[in-house]
Structures are given as structure tokens and as C-alpha cells.
């Protein structure tokens, strides 16, 4: 028994190593990963790099709407605050919102999709009709409605975004579970009388891991964009919090006088999402060689 377990662990280790080897070959994915690590470090140590009260919130009216310079590479905003500091600090919110909302959506969506795909029949039918209903309501609208019902703050924004992630994760899990469940080893697990929950956890879900992980990674990017959009219309993180969408929202009144205010927060969103998508594409290629082009 002990020997078998050891063998299983080493197979897993080999698999992880193999995925890493494949991932490392993809130059774009490696650049993405390196930049993502930098972004995460900036987000984690934002408090150390910048002083929230002095650098981020404190107004310096004498220095309003200054264009980019050596002192302020991204210029200053309408209250004279350094845009680089505000955007840098904002990394924290965007990454937090993106990752946490997708994590919650995945934790809820995957079991529902797994049950739907594995059990099939009436259960599947009912679950999928509910998922369809949620899909019919455009997801951004759904998020807007949920935020307006829950109230606008960081936590509620994450909850609302995670609820629109659930149907996506449910669908992808269901689809891959339906493929895996027909394999012979699942049949034999069932034949020796293993309980359904155990089969799902130990045999089905581990084999559906790749598409779920890839989808979740790519979803982080779209959640960051949605979150910024909600803050832009005043339903996300409120000012003076330097969330990127909120920064863009503030920039609109100064679109004639201070175009740098609009340029840099948008670039920050775009680059972050691109970095995450690069990692996602790299994972897709490494985990599923068939999908590589």
C-alpha cells in the first residue's frame, strides 16, 4: 500500500515537472509569469513602498494636473497627487478583486458543474436550466444589479463578480466531467462500490483540473476589466481609493486639460490583463498539448 502511494506521488511530481518544462518553453508565458510576480510583489508591498496617507490620499493643491515629468513620471491628478503612486497602490485592489472573485466563483461553480455532469439526467437538466437563465441576463448587467442591491464596496463587488463567474465555471466543469466520466477507470471505481462523492473527488475532478485552471486564469483578467468598469460608473470601489476604474472615472472631467490622467490607469489595466492572459495561454499549452497550435 505504502509503495503504491509513493508511486502515485512521484507520478504527480513528474506531471507537475513536465507541465513546468512545457510552460518554460513558451517565451510569452515566462515573460507573463515574471511580470505577474512583479505585480503581485507591488500589490503585497504597496504599504511599504508608499505611505497611504501621505502619498496616496493627501492632496497637494499647488501641484494640480501636472503633466508627466521626472518627479512625477505619470503626472499628477486633479488634487496634485502623484499618479504613479496611486496607480501602483491600485494594483492591490485590481489583483485582489480579480483573484478572490474568481476563487469564490470556482469554489462554488466547480462542485455544481461536477454534480451536473456526473449525475446527469433530471439533476443536470434542472441545474443547466438555472445556469442558462443566468447566462441570458448579460453578465455585466447582472453584476451591476447585484452590486446595487448589496451596496457599493470592495467586498460586495467581489461577491457580485464571483456570482457572474459561477455559471462559466459550472459549464466548463460539467463539459469536462462528462468526458471523463465515461472512462473505464471510473466504471471500475463504481463497480467496486466506491461512493459517488469519493469518485468525484479522487478520480473525476483531478482529471478535469486543466480546463478548469485555464478557464479560471483567463477569467481573472475579465473580472479585473469588469471591476474597473463598475468603478468607472460609480458602482465599484468608491474614491478616494485609487482603484484603476475609479481613477479613469475621475479622469473624464479633465480629458481636455490632463490626458495623462486617462492614459496611465487604462494602460495599467491593459498590461495587467495581458500578463494574466499570457500566463493563462501558457498554462493551456503546457497542460493540454493537444490545444497547442
Amino acid at each position: 500500500m505504502k509503495k503504491n502511494q509513493d508511486a502515485a506521488i512521484s507520478v504527480k511530481e513528474n506531471r507537475a515537472l513536465e507541465v513546468w518544462r512545457q510552460f518554460r518553453r513558451n517565451k510569452g508565458a515566462m515573460i507573463g509569469l515574471a511580470l505577474l510576480i512583479v505585480l503581485v510583489l507591488v500589490a503585497v508591498f504597496a504599504d511599504v513602498i508608499w505611505d497611504y496617507e501621505n502619498d496616496i490620499i493627501q492632496m497637494q493643491i499647488g501641484n494640480r494636473l501636472a503633466p508627466p515629468s521626472w518627479e512625477h513620471p505619470f503626472g499628477t491628478d486633479n488634487y496634485g497627487r502623484d499618479m504613479l503612486a496611486r496607480i501602483g497602490y491600485g494594483t492591490r485592489y485590481s489583483l485582489l478583486i480579480g483573484f478572490v472573485s474568481v476563487l469564490i466563483g470556482t469554489v462554488i461553480g466547480v462542485p455544481i458543474g461536477a454534480i451536473s455532469g456526473y449525475v446527469g439526467g433530471k439533476v443536470d437538466n434542472v441545474i443547466m436550466r438555472i445556469v442558462d437563465t443566468f447566462t441570458i441576463i448579460p453578465s455585466l448587467l447582472m453584476t451591476i444589479i447585484l452590486v446595487s442591491v448589496l451596496g457599493t464596496n470592495l467586498f460586495n463587488l467581489m461577491i457580485a463578480l464571483s456570482i457572474s463567474t459561477i455559471p462559466v465555471m459550472t459549464r466548463i466543469t460539467r463539459a469536462s466531467v462528462m468526458v471523463v466520466r465515461n472512462n473505464d477507470y471510473i466504471e471500475s471505481a463504481r463497480a467496486i462500490g466506491a461512493p459517488t462523492g469519493l469518485i468525484l473527488l479522487k478520480h473525476v475532478l483531478p482529471n478535469c483540473f486543466s480546463p478548469i485552471l485555464v478557464q479560471a486564469t483567463l477569467r481573472v483578467g475579465s473580472s479585473i476589466i469588469s471591476a474597473a468598469g463598475l468603478s468607472y460608473i460609480g458602482l465599484g470601489v468608491p474614491l478616494p481609493t485609487p482603484e484603476w476604474g475609479a481613477l479613469l472615472s475621475a479622469s473624464k472631467s479633465f480629458i481636455i486639460k490632463a490626458q495623462h490622467m486617462c492614459l496611465f490607469p487604462g494602460l495599467a489595466i491593459m498590461i495587467t490583463v495581458m500578463v494574466i492572459n499570457l500566463v493563462g495561454d501558457g498554462l493551456r499549452g503546457a497542460l493540454d498539448p493537444k490545444l497547442k497550435r
Binding site: I144, S148, G221, M270
Partner: protein, 310 residues
């Protein structure tokens, strides 16, 4: 075929019932009081109570829901709390603008994505392909509303070529349509490319080539026609999200559409409008998806045969 369409239209009814129940249920959690929204902060407790009683706001959720649903089938979506106009009229006042923007955006997307996608597939693994996929990669990561702001900056503020906001005439449609259209470009280019690649590897194309047909005939008559289904599906999905999801673009350009009006209504706590609009949008989204399925039949005789069998 006609039977199939009728059957599909009937399936929209349970969808509408489900969507409206979910929306109704969610809206029940709203902490604001519709009576206060309608009468203002100055209203006395008696006035508020009278309003609640006459508008049936004190009834249990299920009773209000049943009454609401009975109304929908008569074309009655209730009255806006904020300006006392029928929600139905408000919706059809805004909807043509949204539809106009959605159609224009789809045209932009198709004009950009199909050539790019086909070109990328035909020139697979060359620099053309790399440029096309880089473009769609960047497009995928670009927040739509930011692109809108950049376009305003360039074409309205700096160059003074086009109006930045409003919906007066064709010129004001251009920037919003490009904003929505290029946002969707990434996905459609990718799908066109991959479905063209699938088709280009098929044996019958080799046959066509060996018969000596020109490359152009092969690509457009033989390959693209068979790569259309996923492309049409994607266009349908985009159309349906544009109908309800152009909220941000409408806000950026002050475009008087359904989405911008809904956000305004949310900010005014006018939830009667929000509920009615979401239900109407769900109906139109379902209709677009139905239209896509019907289009399949025209594009592919095999699917038509399948519809007639069922």
C-alpha cells in the same frame, strides 16, 4: 422548419418566467423603499403607507410576482417610481438607440475580424499571422470604456473630427460603434482563424486544389462557407451581449440607450425600471439566439434537415 421556430419561441416563455423570478427575487433585497423614491424624503408616514397600500407593496413576494407576471403579458411593466412614466414606454423609447449601436458595432467587428481571421489562417505561422494574433491579444485585454475615452481624446478633443457624446446623426454613432466593435474584434478574429484552419486541413480542399481551382475560389467558396457556423455563433453571442451589455460604452459616450438608462435608474433607486428592463432584455437576447439557430439552417442544409426531423 416553421414548427421548429414556433417550438423555440414557446421555449422563451419559461426563460422569461425564470429570469423575471430571479430579478424579482434579487430586487426584493433592495434596502431602499420604493414609496420613498416615488414621494421623496418629505413625505409623511401616512402618505408613504397610503402609497404602499395602493400600489400593493405590502403584499407578499409571491403575490406581487404573480401580479407583475400577469401584467407582462398585457404589455404592462409597471410605472417608473422616479418619473411616473410606464416602464414599457421608457424601454421602447431607449431600445432603438441600443439596437442601432449594437448593429453598427457588429458591422465594425465583422468588417475587421473576418478579413483578419481569414488572412491569419491562410498565412498560418507567418508574420501576418503573428500581427493578427497580437492585435487580438491586445484587444482582448483592453477595457472597452477606456478605448472609448482614448477615442474621444483623439478624435473629439484633439482632432475635432467627431462629436464626443450624444446621439445626433451618423457622426455621433461612429466612435461608440468603433469602441464596441473593436472590443469584440479579438474574439471573432480568433474564432474565424481557428475555424478556417480546421476547414483548410480537410481533404476536399486538397481535391479542389488538385482540380486546379484558383486559390481565391478555394478560400471563399469552399473553405469559408464551411467555417461560417462558429463565426455566426460568435456574432450572435456578441449581438446578444451588446444589447444588454453596452452599458459602459453608452455611459462613456452619453448614448441614450437602455444600458445607460438602467445605470441612471439604479443610481436613483428606481428598481421598477431595472426589473422591467432586465426582463425585456432577456426576451430580446433569447430572440437573437433563436435567430442564430435559424440562420444555421440557411447556412448548412444538414442542420436544416435536422431541424425538420425533430
Amino acid at each position: 422548419m416553421l414548427k421548429y421556430i414556433l417550438k423555440r419561441i414557446l421555449t422563451i416563455i419559461p426563460v422569461v418566467i425564470a429570469v423575471s423570478f430571479i430579478v424579482f427575487f434579487i430586487m426584493d433585497f433592495v434596502p431602499t423603499d420604493p414609496a420613498v423614491t416615488a414621494l421623496g424624503d418629505g413625505a409623511t408616514e401616512e402618505q408613504l403607507n397610503y402609497y404602499r397600500e395602493t400600489h400593493g407593496l405590502n403584499d407578499p413576494l409571491i403575490v406581487r410576482y404573480a401580479r407583475y407576471m400577469a401584467g407582462i403579458f398585457r404589455g404592462d411593466l409597471g410605472t417608473s417610481y422616479a418619473n411616473q412614466l410606464p416602464v414599457w414606454d421608457l424601454f421602447f423609447d431607449k431600445f432603438p438607440n441600443t439596437l442601432r449601436l449594437a448593429l453598427a458595432s457588429v458591422v465594425v467587428t465583422v468588417l475587421l475580424s473576418l478579413p483578419l481571421g481569414i488572412l491569419a489562417a491562410v498565412k498560418e505561422n507567418t508574420w501576418v499571422d503573428t500581427v493578427c494574433s497580437t492585435l487580438s491579444f491586445v484587444g482582448l485585454a483592453m477595457p472597452n470604456f477606456w478605448l472609448g475615452l482614448l477615442l474621444i481624446m483623439l478624435f473629439a478633443v484633439n482632432l475635432h473630427w467627431l462629436p464626443s457624446t450624444g446621439a445626433a446623426g451618423f457622426s455621433s454613432l461612429i466612435l461608440p460603434a468603433i469602441t464596441c466593435g473593436t472590443g469584440n474584434m479579438a474574439a471573432l478574429t480568433r474564432i474565424t482563424r481557428s475555424s478556417m484552419l480546421d476547414v483548410l486541413r480537410q481533404d476536399y480542399l486538397r481535391t479542389a486544389r488538385s482540380k486546379g481551382q484558383s486559390e481565391r475560389t478555394i478560400i471563399f467558396r469552399h473553405a469559408f462557407r464551411n467555417a461560417q457556423i462558429p463565426v455566426v455563433t460568435q456574432i450572435g453571442i456578441q449581438m446578444s451581449t451588446l444589447i444588454g451589455g453596452a452599458v459602459l460604452t453608452e455611459r462613456v459616450f452619453a448614448w441614450p440607450g437602455v444600458g445607460a438608462f438602467m445605470v441612471d435608474s439604479i443610481q436613483k433607486s428606481d428598481f421598477e425600471v431595472v426589473t422591467g428592463f432586465v426582463i425585456m432584455l432577456a426576451i430580446f437576447v433569447s430572440l437573437v439566439l433563436l435567430l442564430v439557430d435559424v440562420l444555421y439552417a440557411f447556412l448548412d442544409p444538414r442542420i436544416k434537415a435536422q431541424y425538420s426531423r425533430n
